[in-house]
């Protein structure tokens, strides 16, 4: 078996607040293989963006990484000094943020911004850097003549493409994309995602893809981790997740959003709201909202356990290697139906 490109082990991130510390990422472990698209989904505040920022080590206080390892190609990112980090960021892992307008410099032409990223890391002449920026713009589907345009002269979709061009400028083996198309229209979103897929085939990079749009995630990712309140509660190949969710939270998520495809299905939503992480519930953090809760759920925390078929789930309903189909159980509980 090949070595994982990124191996996050027991990562723990805390936000130090006056009233105590909030554990936003609670001993999370996952791996990303070379060329793989790993999707991370969950509600706002569940810690998915915090994970992305800790991999690049760009978290600012009050957020502090208090434990674990982030192994990239076997080297621990958390042990790197500033010089090593500078080398690591962008040339090994680049990031695409949600808001393209905020990640581009409004007073700099987009061609120059791409060239700037290249020259910050490599000794390249202005002319060569410009040539490479022209190439990159072609790669992401922007007319190279637009390289003299300022960000405000581009549409939202074009800006996001420019940001992707900057991320690809050093040909990194891994991209982190944090809600890259959330601000865009469905049609533009589809185009950008298709283009990303082609680029991935061409350059062979891995992607850590973060979004709360599960339909998009299931279509684009190879494997998906579902996060809830700082924990990964379920991990599965994306083809299996929708049809056979094993964690009650995943099931709830899958039944919270309407679909346009297929027959109308009943929507149930998830009762309650995410816990206050200053005083999280003991045991399983989802227990207070779970309709299949058992006595042991509120006393001890279930760990991510393999259930076969490359799947992992953190839930006491399943025993190791012996998954239970939860859909009939959930449906019989008759939660709020629309």
């Amino acid at each position: 078996m090949t070595e994982p490109l990124l191996d996050v082990r027991d990562l723990r991130v805390e936000y130090k607040a006056l009233r105590g510390s909030v554990r936003a990422v609670n001993d999370v472990s996952f791996q990303i293989m070379p060329g793989e698209v790993y999707g991370l989904a969950g509600e706002s505040g569940c810690g998915k963006s915090t994970i992305a920022l800790s991999i690049l080590r760009v978290l600012n206080p009050p957020a502090v990484i208090t434990g674990g390892q982030v192994l990239f190609k076997g080297r621990d990112v958390l042990d790197m000094n500033d010089d090593q980090l500078e080398q690591f960021r962008w040339s090994e892992v680049a990031m695409v943020f949600q808001s393209a307008m905020n990640s581009l410099n409004p007073v700099m032409r987009i061609g120059d911004q791409i060239a700037d990223a290249i020259q910050a890391h490599e000794r390249v002449s202005d002319k060569d850097a410009e040539e490479r920026s022209v190439e990159l713009l072609k790669v992401v589907g922007i007319d190279p003549n637009r390289r003299r345009a300022y960000p405000h002269e581009l549409s939202g979709g074009m800006r996001q493409r420019a940001v992707i061009a900057i991320a690809l400028s050093l040909n990194p083996p891994m991209l982190i994309m944090d809600e890259p198309t959330t601000a865009l229209d469905v049609v533009v979103q589809q185009e950008i995602m298709m283009q990303l897929r082609e680029l991935k085939e061409q350059f062979g990079f891995s992607v850590l893809f973060i979004t709360h749009d599960l339909s998009l995630l299931v279509e684009f990712s190879d494997r998906i981790g579902i996060m809830y309140a700082g924990d990964i509660v379920e991990e599965a190949p994306s083809s299996q997740l929708f049809d056979d969710p094993q964690h009650p939270y995943t099931w709830g998520l899958m039944h919270s959003f309407p679909l346009v495809h297929g027959p109308r299905m009943a929507l149930t939503g998830i009762p309650g709201s995410p816990p206050d992480l200053l005083s999280p519930p003991p045991g399983c953090r989802f227990a207070p909202r779970c309709s299949l809760v058992m006595p042991q759920c509120s006393t001890s925390r279930p760990l991510l356990t393999p259930t076969g078929n490359r799947r992992n789930v953190a839930c006491y309903l399943h025993e190791q290697g012996r998954p239970v189909t939860i859909s009939p159980l959930m449906e019989s509980r008759g939660t709020v139906t629309v």
């Binding site: 509600e43 706002s44 589907g141 549409s155 939202g156 979709g157 229209d185 469905v186 049609v187 533009v188 979103q189 589809q190 185009e191 995602m193 298709m194 897929r197 709360h212 749009d213 599960l214 339909s215 998009l216 299931v218 279509e219 684009f220 994306s238 083809s239 929708f242 049809d243 709830g252 998520l253 899958m254 919270s256 959003f257 309407p258 679909l259 346009v260 495809h261 297929g262 109308r264 929507l267 149930t268 939503g269 998830i270 709201s273 709020v336 629309v338």
Partner: protein, 347 residues
């Protein structure tokens, strides 16, 4: 169904041939951006009409014109049969502003960060004279908070917007709209900034308020799926024109306009085989400034014919609950300037 079956259910608000131009360019090269072009639709008591389209298609401009936050360039807004643009030439009256309320997309930007939640609800009550005296107002504020699911009200009324989650803030927006007992609510992307698991709660709230108060909704969204679940009828807007309208489920099952088909095709499908469907590339925005004649979608349409670049077709009725403006289905019965309000739905 026929018009007669609606005799007992007259439209509350009818928009006819609404047009809006924004002047652009410099003083000597004045040009017009055509944001709305002959837009017509009807809102009925206790019914939801969804207005779907991409960013920049004019959905929000339409809502703002109806709320009279901006003045339309031409057309009619009939509220209970009276043309408000003719009756209230110099801006909407307090009465109209109370009857037609708007909910905005961003629950962070639409509440005042330095005022308490109670203030947000007491102010419209006072301005619209819906309550008198401090005690009555406070009671009404509590009632409103509880009616949108923020209970116990005492816990919320003294809080500030930053202390609430996005979903709770959006509930406050609804409570504020309800304070003035509106008949029409224009909801402009009310759930698009909320978390997936919170969205259903807000849609359920909207549904309940609709049933309890008989509110007529204009539900503006770019999300066809939520329109399918929430709206009785859906109309699709492209480049300031309404190109198709149908009962919501009918529209999803049998989209007739190539643009609607493209929109539906672009929605990710988690149950599909892994991988994206192949869509047409080179998505360019339509020309809105001094637009050419013909159908605005012609440049992107896979079925474009020469006639499409010359004439914008009128409405062609496909069946009792479905009409479309596309030459593929006929040139339409009426010219765009004389279009009917949207087709009545079977009960």
């Amino acid at each position: 169904m026929t018009e007669q079956s609606h005799a007992a259910d007259p439209p509350i608000l009818e928009v006819r041939d609404l047009q809006k131009f924004f002047p652009v360019g410099t003083m000597f090269a004045r040009r017009n951006l055509r944001a709305l072009h002959h837009v017509s639709f009807t809102l009925r008591r206790g019914k939801v009409l969804a207005l779907v389209g991409e960013s920049g298609s004019g959905k929000s401009t339409a809502a703002r014109c109806v709320a009279r936050l901006i003045e339309p360039s031409a057309g009619q807004i009939l509220f209970k049969g009276k043309d408000m643009l003719a009756e209230e030439r110099r801006g909407a009256s307090l009465q109209y502003r109370g009857d037609v309320q708007m909910i905005f997309q961003d629950p962070f930007g639409s509440l005042n960060p330095v005022k308490s939640i109670a203030h947000h609800l007491a102010r419209p009550l006072r301005i619209h004279k819906k309550s008198s005296g401090t005690k009555e107002t406070a009671e009404r504020v509590d009632q409103l908070l509880e009616s949108v699911g923020l209970a116990p009200a005492r816990q919320f009324s003294d809080k500030y917007p930053y202390e609430l989650s996005g979903g709770q803030r959006q509930r406050v927006s609804f409570a504020r709209a309800l304070a003035v007992e509106p008949e029409v609510v224009l909801a402009d992307e009310p759930i698009s900034m909320l978390d997936v698991s919170i969205r259903m709660g807000i849609l359920n709230l909207m549904e309940r308020l609709k049933d309890e108060h008989g509110i007529a909704y204009l539900y503006i969204t770019h999300d066809l799926a939520s329109a399918r679940y929430f709206a009785d009828e859906t109309i699709v807007m492209y480049a300031g024109q309404i190109v198709e309208g149908a009962a919501s489920e009918e529209l999803i099952q049998h989209p007739a306009h190539p643009y609607t088909q493209r929109l539906l095709d672009a929605v990710p499908d988690p149950k599909a085989e892994h991988g994206f469907k192949q869509g047409a590339g080179g998505w360019q925005p339509p020309i809105l400034v001094d637009p050419p004649p013909g159908c605005p979608f012609a440049d992107r349409c896979p079925h474009a014919m020469p006639v499409c670049r010359e004439i914008m077709p009128g409405r062609t009725t496909l069946n009792a609950v479905h009409w479309v403006r596309c030459h593929l289905h006929g040139s339409g019965e009426s010219s765009p300037g004389l279009s009917e309000p949207n087709l009545p739905l079977s009960a």
